[in-house]
Structures are given as C-alpha cells and as structure tokens.
C-alpha cells in the first residue's frame, strides 16, 4: 500500500533561518506530489505540486520542493522563514495504479517560527 512519511512532526525555527521538511513516499510508479499548508484557523491550501518535468518546483510564498525519484523524496524548502510561515505542512502523493487514484497524506509537520 502507498504511504507517505514526514520525518519531523514539530519544527521550531527563528526568523530568517532556512527550512527543509522531509517527505518520503512508498510507491514505485508514476506519482503526482503535493505540499499543502494549513495556517492557524484557515483552510488547507495548496503550496506547490509536481506532475512532471523539472523536478525542482516553485510554489507560493517563496517555497520550493525537489522531487528526487531515486530517493522517493519530495522535500520542501525555504531559504529564509518568516513568522507568518507558522503553520502545519502536509505532504501528499497521488499514485497511478488500477482503479481510482487517491491522495495519500503524511502525518503533517507543525512549524513554529519565532520572531
């Protein structure tokens, strides 16, 4: 069965620090990959997505993620975080196999950025 693993459940950073959140998935075929973000009290919203092509994907608010097929990874990065990046981040994978294709979410990573 497909699964998604997010390595860090809680991350605490100071403003201007660099961020990298790990995401690994288990699925050997073609995948679509997503990072969603949930700011306190708000809807879950899409941060960025990978379908094909350039494995380095840029999203909103200065975030980017790199798809490394050989490592089954899709890590999220931001060179310099801001207090407003405090949120919960979810990695999700859609695998293409027989039948309907579902999104599988990781457990999430709570990021707290201190001023």
């Amino acid at each position: 069965a497909q699964s998604v693993s997010q390595h860090n459940h809680h991350v605490i950073l100071s403003e201007a620090a660099s961020l990298e959140l790990g995401c690994n998935y288990s699925y050997g075929g073609t995948v679509n990959l997503f990072w969603y973000v949930q700011y306190p009290g708000q809807h879950l919203q899409l941060l960025l997505k990978y379908f094909s092509g350039d494995p380095l994907v840029k999203g909103i608010k200065g975030f980017e993620a790199e798809f490394i097929k050989s490592k089954f990874s899709f890590n999220l990065r931001k060179p310099s975080v801001q207090w407003s990046d405090t949120a919960e981040y979810f990695c999700a994978v859609k695998g293409f196999s027989g039948g309907y294709n579902k999104l599988i979410f990781g457990a999430g990573t709570r990021l707290a950025v201190h001023p």
Binding site: F34, Y36, H43, L44, L46, F90, K94, K102
Partner: protein
C-alpha cells in the same frame, strides 16, 4: 475562486446521535471527498465520490456513510456517533479532468465533539 463550504465549523453531539455533515462546492467538480484530520495522523480518507450517486470507500469508512444526490453536495453521515469519532472533518473537491486538474480544494472543516 473555488469555494468549498461546510455546514458547521463546530458541532457537539452525544453518543448514539445521528450526525449529518454537509459539504457544498461551487466549481462544478466531479470528485468530492471526506477526510478526518487527527493530530499526528494527518488526513485520512473516509469516503469519496466521483459522480452523483456514486461513492467509494476510503481508508477508514467504518462507522460512516455518505450521500451524493446532487453534484455540488456531498454529505457525511455518522449513523450512531461515538466518542472515537471526535475529530476535525474536512471536505474537499477536485475536477474529474486530466491529472493536471487533480488538485483538491478544501473546506474550512467541521470540528465535531462527541460526548
């Protein structure tokens, strides 16, 4: 702007009650989903629907049922609520077209407490 709305933000029910959670989307999306979100577990798919009157079980369907009588509306039903169904419930929708349109759009969530 895609909009997914849920009937209640907060709901408190008693054990054994029948509970209806309603979700409406205004983007003419074919696919609709119900997830529950629990700390440390991420989002888990309960049921989804890819067409009116069609439904498919997700990963944790036990104790739940769904109804989709109209394209824009997808209801989650707890036949007899139990305390272990206390959770945040998220509705989402997505287009049924090619893979590039498979982004899911989420509602604000309903926080259900079962006493």
């Amino acid at each position: 702007d895609v909009k997914v709305t849920q009937s209640s933000r907060y709901l408190v029910k008693r054990t054994g009650e029948k509970v209806f959670l309603e979700c409406v989307q205004d983007m003419d999306h074919e696919n609709m989903f119900w997830y529950r979100q629990d700390p440390g577990l991420g989002l888990r798919l309960i049921y989804f629907s890819y067409d009116v009157k069609m439904k498919e079980k997700g990963d944790i369907p036990e104790g739940y049922s769904v109804s989709r009588e109209k394209k824009e509306r997808f209801s989650l039903i707890l036949e007899s609520a139990s305390t272990n169904q206390t959770s945040m419930y998220l509705c989402a929708s997505s287009s049924g077209l090619a893979a590039i349109y498979n982004e899911q759009f989420f509602g604000p969530g309903t926080r259900l407490t079962v006493l």
